[in-house]
């Protein structure tokens, strides 16, 4: 048994298949992938990695299994899945996932292939575990998959507390011990036991507050969009495949961006925090539906249109259109007066959060700092934005304050 000291959960005991997996390359690689990617450019202390998060998820899974009385091979499977749940992440975690997905068709939780091969596959088989089943758990399949990837999963519990600890933003400080103690299975569904409507709400609210303050902070979004753009340019090069990119770690990607002439400028900007600024920061209602739902090709065309009108190179205009807001946690289940109820039906907060999330949605256009005024006007025209809702930099001074920000 290995005992590892963690800044969030204190001592974590790793044993069984998890201890054997700990030393494999795909798990150790997670030491070199930051949990929050470019968020570190907003919150300088946020340098924690997927490695320590994976240990935390393993630890909470272990406690949940203990609480739920699950042991034997089923327990080993779930513990393995917990420790391995993030090995599919590319460099900078979610930051370039969209790009690699476009080329490989795989998201970070599609790990069937990864788990079957190499050291990990061997280790699993040595412990009589079927890699495919573990991959299924990582993908949230089956009754027990809910523990690893679902609306009440231990992944979320760990990252909220851990991200709060490392950013210094207290909103993620949930009562994870209580959450785990109240988990129970009813008819094969993972639910919170009687008396936990507030417990369920607290998880939702923590995420609702961390989202705009941390995960979607506009500086994190700008740097993430720049990084994504850099990754796309890298893939235009003959010698780097999307599959390779996906297996890079943070160091590799930064090194590749620096070494490639087409991306050395974006590397320099990211490295020295000399970031683009917002030319446009538009609310959902100000953006035409076809722009919100545009595919990548259309977005590139729109960028080019803005660039042309402004006399900028295409490289210098980044259009950042998030997905439409959605909030799946509304289907978290909690027992109320003996019945299993969906939290979304029980709690008036859930629909309010959905509305709040819609309000917080923003389309961004990012350009070099000196060009925000001109590019803002050009983008309003090119995208057909509704001026009233489109918070263009030169039209509405002070716009950059619509989101919580510590530095611009």
């Amino acid at each position: 048994m290995a005992t590892i000291k963690d800044s969030v959960h204190d001592h974590i005991e790793v044993e069984g298949v998890a201890e054997a997996l700990l030393d494999t390359e795909p798990v150790q690689r997670l030491r070199h992938i930051k949990q929050l990617g470019t968020v570190q450019l907003v919150y300088p202390s946020a340098n924690h990695t997927r490695f320590e998060h994976s240990l935390g998820v393993y630890h909470l899974a272990d406690r949940a299994l203990d609480h739920l009385g699950i042991d034997g091979v089923q327990g080993e499977r779930i513990r393995a899945a917990a420790l391995l749940h993030d090995v599919g992440h590319g460099p900078y975690s979610h930051n370039v996932e969209e790009v690699t997905h476009r080329h490989t068709g795989k998201y970070h939780d599609d790990v069937g292939e990864l788990l079957a091969q190499g050291e990990v596959g061997e280790t699993l088989r040595e412990h009589d575990l079927d890699p495919e089943r573990i991959a299924g758990l990582v993908a949230g399949e089956g009754q027990y998959g809910q523990l690893v990837s679902g609306e009440l999963d231990v992944d979320r519990m760990d990252y909220l507390v851990r991200d709060a600890h490392h950013t210094g933003v207290p909103y993620g400080t949930i009562d994870h011990e209580r959450l785990i103690r109240e988990l129970t299975f009813v008819d094969g569904e993972l639910v919170l036991a009687e008396g936990n409507v507030q417990t369920a709400e607290s998880l939702l609210l923590a995420r609702a507050l961390m989202n705009p303050t941390v995960y979607q902070h506009h500086v994190a979004r700008i740097s993430k969009a720049m990084l994504r753009r850099g990754a796309e340019r890298l893939l235009d090069q003959p010698d780097i495949s999307a599959q390779q990119l996906r297996r890079m770690d943070d160091h590799d990607l930064l090194a590749a961006l620096r070494a490639t002439p087409e991306t050395s400028e974006v590397a320099r900007r990211l490295f020295t925090r000399d970031l683009y600024k917002r030319a446009v920061w538009a609310e959902l209602e100000a953006v035409p539906e076809d722009v919100v739902d545009a595919d990548v090709e259309t977005l590139r065309d729109l960028e080019r249109a803005v660039a042309e009108r402004t006399g900028l190179a295409h490289e210098e205009v980044v259009l950042d259109v998030p997905e439409r807001p959605s909030m799946t946690e509304s289907t978290s289940r909690v027992m109320v007066s003996g019945e299993m109820r969906q939290l979304g039906k029980q709690s008036p907060l859930v629909s309010a959060l959905r509305t709040a999330q819609k309000q917080q949605w923003r389309l961004g256009v990012y350009v070099p700092a000196s060009e925000t005024d001109r590019a803002g006007r050009a983008a309003v025209e090119a995208l057909g934005l509704d001026l009233d809702g489109a918070l263009v930099s030169d039209v509405r001074p002070g716009v950059t304050a619509t989101l919580d920000e510590f530095t611009d």
Copy 2:
């Protein structure tokens, strides 16, 4: 200058009039009044007092003044008001306030008389401060009264963080430093600066989660109702006036309850945590309007009616009907795109919280543990409760779990 170490804010520097006030009897008395009254029977670590809370409020007021650039006599006034804001509290803080109010017409923030007389009055006058103006600030009057008692006051910021620290319930962990840094006056109104919709929401949400989990936990409510009942009996005695009761501290009240034959049993029960249990725990919609809005006399009559039907003494039946839910924070103000907006209009969460609060409202009937079944049935009849919404103990097993509870 005195420097005092606080478990929440670390070092607190007290100077000027506040330092002189620190040693007066009315302020030192707060060392003997628990911040959360009977909540300590649910969360054993919650033994913090109004004294340390008052120091914390003084400290945050001082930081806010520094941030807002308010100094001179105005600053001294506000600091004095911050330190003194709770001297009007009776024993067990809010727990018996209703009782003393009925007899004296005064709530804890009605401190005009208290501040004018004795050591406090002298100290204030020695520092050229008018006690009446300080009392006005404590009551939330004027522009600066908002800092001490308003929807964005430092009182709330301190108590949420402090109560979280001492109960161990993390929900109150707000970012008070940020809240204070974002305070600003616009047209004489205290508001949060641009970019702080989430900051304002976080304060609301913290309170919304602490409320059912801590402040209104049913065991805290039961013991509070028993204490209130004891206080009423004490006032039936010839030798204790409501005015005297109001100036007791926690020790005095406990001692008086023990020494008085009519209340020694309730004292014993509170002392050994041998509390009544819920016979009824009814949602708002299950309770007839005239019961919700009944005055004290009517409630006593109803208790007697339940007692008679059950064959209990009147003493053994406690009917606990909270005020109708209300949530004044909805008028917190925050700047959005250069305009001052009411949070209630800006944030969809506010009305959801109002709904949630209504859902959490409960009428309770508390009786000795062995009598819950019979008393529950009797109460349903006597109060005219709608059986479907009235969670009577024998009708709906598991009812005690509708609120978050660590022990019953």
Copy 3:
């Protein structure tokens, strides 16, 4: 099983005999006894009680048992002893223990009688546990008594962390999780496993730093001495016996002090923090040996001598002579290279701490603030102090700063 939320250890699960003991009067009484007595007059947040500390000790004992693989009836015995270890405390914990010991011959850990009788005795017997054996464990007897009361006991681990949490002084923040994980029995001795010299030292150092800063802070000592004096006067009254005093709680003692004319002044002073000040604060080497080792009668005579020379009433002169420094932890055992070694022999820090402790020893003479100068001079003569080492207030300005102090 009851689950209780604690501000230090988060969720504590109480079951078996401990759950049954929880509701007995002797355990509930601990809610009304402050862990640190008058230390709260220095650190206002230090209002935690022996109740929550007892829960904490129970919790750590439970973890230690789990780690050591001790279960069955032996485990129940130890858990019971852990929860009950402080029921023998009188009001204000250690503050008046010396007084009650003089009259009853009992210290707080002499609980044989207490555990045999009443609710506790019944509960223990119902669970087939022998009260006498539990009392033996509380007194530290036998192999397993070391867990409850010994040099590596869980009592110390809990109070260091808890006192740090509540005072805000970080020095007590030990790694209690690690300490418990490294406990092991070798030849019936409780020791720390190989590789834990620093772990053992850290426990010692934490206590060495907390001692002068918190436990022996001079304001705590002054108020404790005043309280002790008050308790002695109470026992001069015909109607209060030492046995009764020992079973009071904090409220009772304060109420008795207030109600008794002979002690109402000391009650007022303690209540409003209008404390005596130091007239003398003398190092060990400045004090004649026979004063250091004097018995209570001699000390009273010396007080009277000082009072006479100064024209004060005996009541107004308090002579405070701590026991000679000793440090028993030096015999903590730790495994080094396969051998069990005494920490005192292994670690050069231990003897240094003994020397430091000797340096920190101080004899105090406390009198009303206005009389410190005259009384200081009188005490130097009456006690035969060596002026060079006797830090008399008027001789050495700034003397009050020799100990860490936040307020005087």
Copy 4:
């Protein structure tokens, strides 16, 4: 003014020259240099960087200046020095400093050249600050240099608290607020005010406990020695100069190690935590004086001798001989009874810590895991170790536990 959220000090306000310096490349580069280098292989959460530490040191310097009443240009100089004090660090902080020093003659605090040139030089001059004077402060010169680099400097205060926060090891949790509040200048010397012997000791003790547990943990030492060996090999290559190596960041060094055939194996080992193990772990008294004081060439010869006897490549034998123990803090000054005293003379702990440090000193010989036995025996002979004190792996089982360790 920029406000930055820090996980340790909460909000940090950066203004004046510091704000301008924040965006320069040499400061932003610190984002890519881990504060604790390879310690992250022992404590997985220890991924914090020199960037956030530099912000913390700036923040504490700012508070100290405020407390000491230092402002104007002197204040700006000190703040600039605080923010810049670590820009001279090479990759992996102290880990390869010895190597680069051998080739460049420069340690990390020799920053005269760095500060004079480029963006930093320009920025300083624009703010009318002389780079040379700032470099002097960084090197600890003059009265004010003591604040930045001295025995009571804010650098140490920040790193102890920060390293504790990120490793999860509580020993570094000092009361930094108190330390800063008690700083004062007496005759041009930075000292702690009256009443702070314990405060001074606490700083020393924190470091004394963090040292073996964190900074000198044997796994950190092994990986650091392997990294150092890798860096030396890199410098054997024709195309990398020591000056270049010194300006790399962590990514660059890792990338270079991977890309260079001679070092790709050590890169792989470090990356996957497939580390060498200890063949020898010898106490100071077991090592001949000439080995303790040997120069680099001699050490290389000794490695080769061990390698030859064992049949290993020279690459596979790493001899790690730390400097002789020394503890400069013993000259920290603190006021006692009106006199300035050296802590080393006042506190018996200081000399004890010096002895403890000597006891903790270890010479290590590290080789691939399978070779520890043979290499251990060979090293004993080649180095002339005294077998009794030389804890060779095969001679003394359990040796790996002589230091606190969470994993081996």
